[in-house]
């Protein structure tokens, strides 16, 4: 296989997206669907074929020169290395399953061509981020996923709230993008290159103060895409989009782009202890914040959205603790089980007759196909971190890394992680009990579940449950395959005595069990939602929207009002209006000259000619004719 064929991986989805965009509505529906799935599945197959190219230093492919101006020479290049390969495989693999699911999910929607085109385009943009060799390609993908996410969240744009949710996601992530943009330009100004590998190689030469600022800028950019505090408010609202979108974009891929970005720039970011601490702190705050919010949510997808934020917070903590492999491990397992949970949630909503509120569900284990319950449960135990599941091992690895960090401050983060794990187990089983146990409390009529919505759950369930096997810690007899794969890119070596490791594993298992038991005690029988200030506070996500409104939107609005009324209207408009009035009064005087009569104009013309002629005559007399 030729390296340059790497391009087929991102270009295949792009090609299908373009075809669907241009001709989708004119082609048979089946054709559009098959092509969309084929595009992504083809990319998946190609990734498998190219797997070997990622070993060592990876392989690089240049498609064409994008910009060439002076010393700047930017080519459209892809870099398929050890960090990118598993991510690519995950993105294409999960996306293939979600595309299949989407075919079933969207089978009653008439606007399928736009949907699949956007979905494919999203996969292309995500692959551009993952495979980017330089910052420009990365930024292209970065903005591309934002655009596709905007289009997909507001897919049913005829409902105002959906369109608003799309706009909100777009704008909030844009705040992060601005910081990322600044960071990228600054990096370019410092190093004179846009190649990520070259920048990482030169990172040590950058002065430490600048590194801190750069890392914080990158962190803020990552926060925007990954919905971390303080740019987290968009993700919960983004659940307005179709469920496959939630599964693909808001669980498996796009929200992890921030983590991936930090991993990409790990050699740069890890130079600064302050930045690393900040990353961990943001991850920890987000993890506990989202976990508390999730405990009070009533809509099934919002619970999952907050849990996503919480889990991505774990990944940030892992990066902050220095273990790229740990972060990527959790990223991968999380992608599997969270996509599974979202897709299963989509099935649940179908069964409940388009009802989102978990307090109006119940008893769905008996109402629906039994395998749905088992699939959902598989995802739930992974999320809750019950021992031996994939989620358990990946989360445990992160907690271990935090615990063993030399800085004592990280013990606090570890504690937050542990508490979050407890909360996670609790709200996960709260969800399971409320949805599947007891009697049915809703009024909706179940929709039929297409086959295509059911069977993509199984591979994901398998991967989620057994995902830990890829990276079993050494002390339980595993090979830590992922750590070995990443090699020099894996980050800090997490070393601890076996006693500590066993102790932590035991603690994690106990916590998961405790969470389950608490949920069992609280929700075994149905209890109506609490109506106290605390739960309202948590339900609204700590009033984050109101806070943003107070802190940013209102001051900005009043400033804008001042600019508009004070500066613009009074000062500028006043001055200009005055000038205009002056000019127009002169104009009115001049207007008297335009009588509209041809003869007036002609004689005016004659006078003008006379002046010219007089001047000529004068010159003739003075100059003697020459």
């Amino acid at each position: 296989m030729n390296d340059s064929l790497l391009f087929l991986i991102p270009l295949l989805p792009l090609f299908c997206a373009v075809i669907n965009l241009l001709f989708g509505m004119r082609l048979p529906r089946l054709f559009a669907e098959v092509m969309a799935v084929t595009g992504v599945a083809g990319a998946f197959a190609l990734t498998l074929l190219f797997w070997g190219h990622a070993e060592g230093d990876g392989s690089r492919a240049v498609l064409f020169t994008w910009l060439n101006s002076g010393t700047v020479d930017i080519s459209f290049a892809l870099n398929f290395d050890r960090l990118a390969a598993p991510m690519t495989l995950m993105v294409t693999g999960v996306a293939t399953l979600i595309h299949l699911y989407a075919v079933g999910y969207m089978h009653e929607d008439d606007d399928y061509a736009r949907f699949f085109a956007l979905l494919n385009l999203f996969v292309f943009a995500m692959l551009a981020i993952v495979l980017a060799d330089n910052l420009l390609v990365l930024f292209l993908g970065w903005e591309g996923v934002g655009l596709c996410s905007y289009g997909l969240i507001g897919f049913w744009y005829r409902k105002l709230e959906n369109a608003k949710a799309g706009t909100k996601a777009f704008l909030v992530t844009r705040v992060g993008d601005v910081f990322l943009g600044i960071a990228l330009l600054w990096l370019f100004a410092l190093t004179g290159t846009l190649s990520i590998n070259a920048i990482n190689a030169q990172a040590a030469a950058i002065s430490p103060g600048v590194v801190i600022v750069l890392s914080l800028l990158l962190l803020l950019g990552a926060c925007g895409k990954s919905a971390q505090v303080p740019l987290m408010t968009w993700l919960a609202d983004a659940m307005a989009g179709p469920t496959p979108v939630s599964a693909l974009i808001h669980a498996a891929t796009m929200v992890t782009a921030g983590v991936y970005l930090l991993c990409r720039f790990f050699p740069l970011v890890s130079l600064s202890a302050v930045a690393m601490t900040a990353i961990t702190a943001i991850g920890a705050v987000t993890a506990i914040y989202a976990a508390t919010c999730a405990m009070a949510q009533r809509e099934i997808k919002r619970v999952l959205a907050y849990s996503t934020m919480s889990q991505v917070g774990y990944m940030f903590m892992a990066v902050g603790a220095g273990t790229v492999a740990g972060a990527m491990f959790h990223l991968l397992t999380h992608a599997f089980f969270k996509a599974l949970l979202f897709m299963a949630a989509g099935c649940v909503i179908h069964l409940a007759g388009d009802e989102n509120d978990i307090f109006k569900m119940g008893g769905l284990a008996r109402r629906g196909p039994v395998e749905l319950f088992w699939a959902f449960l598989a995802g739930a135990v992974c999320l809750a971190g019950l021992p031996l599941t994939g989620g358990f091992f990946s989360k445990d690895g992160i907690l271990l890394a935090l615990f063993t960090h030399p800085d004592p401050l990280y013990r606090v983060f570890w504690l937050i992680g542990v508490v979050t794990a407890l909360l996670t187990a609790f709200y996960t089983f709260r969800l399971v009990y409320l949805v599947f146990a007891g009697d049915y409390r809703g009024t909706g009529h179940p929709h039929a579940l297409p086959l295509l919505m059911r069977w993509p759950l199984w591979p994901l369930a398998l991967l989620g449950l057994a995902g830990g096997l890829f990276n079993l810690p050494v002390f339980v007899g595993g090979g830590e395959a992922l750590h070995h794969w990443y090699g020099t890119m894996a980050g800090r070596e997490v070393a601890a005595s076996h006693d500590v490791e066993w102790m932590l594993i035991g603690l994690a298992a106990a916590i998961a069990a405790a969470g389950w038991l608490a949920a069992h005690w609280r929700y075994r029988g149905y209890r109506p939602p609490l109506e106290n200030p605390v739960s309202r506070f948590l339900l609204s996500g700590w009033q984050a929207d109101a806070l943003v409104d107070r802190l940013f939107v209102r001051p900005f609005t009043s400033m804008a009002r001042f600019c508009s009324a004070g500066c613009d209207r009074a000062l500028l408009d006043g001055t200009l209006d005055g000038l205009a009035r002056l000019v127009s009064s002169w104009g009115r005087m001049l207007v008297q000259l335009t009588t509209g009569r041809l003869t007036t104009y002609l004689s005016a013309f004659a006078w003008g000619f006379l002046v010219l002629l007089g001047w000529f005559l004068l010159k003739l007399v003075n100059g003697g004719g020459h």
Partner: protein
Amino acid sequence: MMIPFGHALAFAAALFILGLTCVLLRRQILMILIGVEIMLNAASLVFVAASAYWRQVDGQVFVILLMAITAAEVAVALAMVVYLWRRKRTLVADEFNGMHG
């Protein structure tokens, strides 16, 4: 035939003044147009005389082009005359002052 160049110019100037007089004094649009034609012909006379004076072909070429342009101008102008007549049933130029300020 030998005449001073200036005499040809003098004839042209006189012709031009006559055309100008027509344009400035007559009030009927058609007569104003006729005045324009007279002035154009005065210009043609200068061109032809200059062409003969310098023994160059260019002056005559310009007269030919001038004629073509005049034909275009007259076509549009007369179409407008007909249009104006249909609007107001008169061709007195000062009746059409709808464009006054």
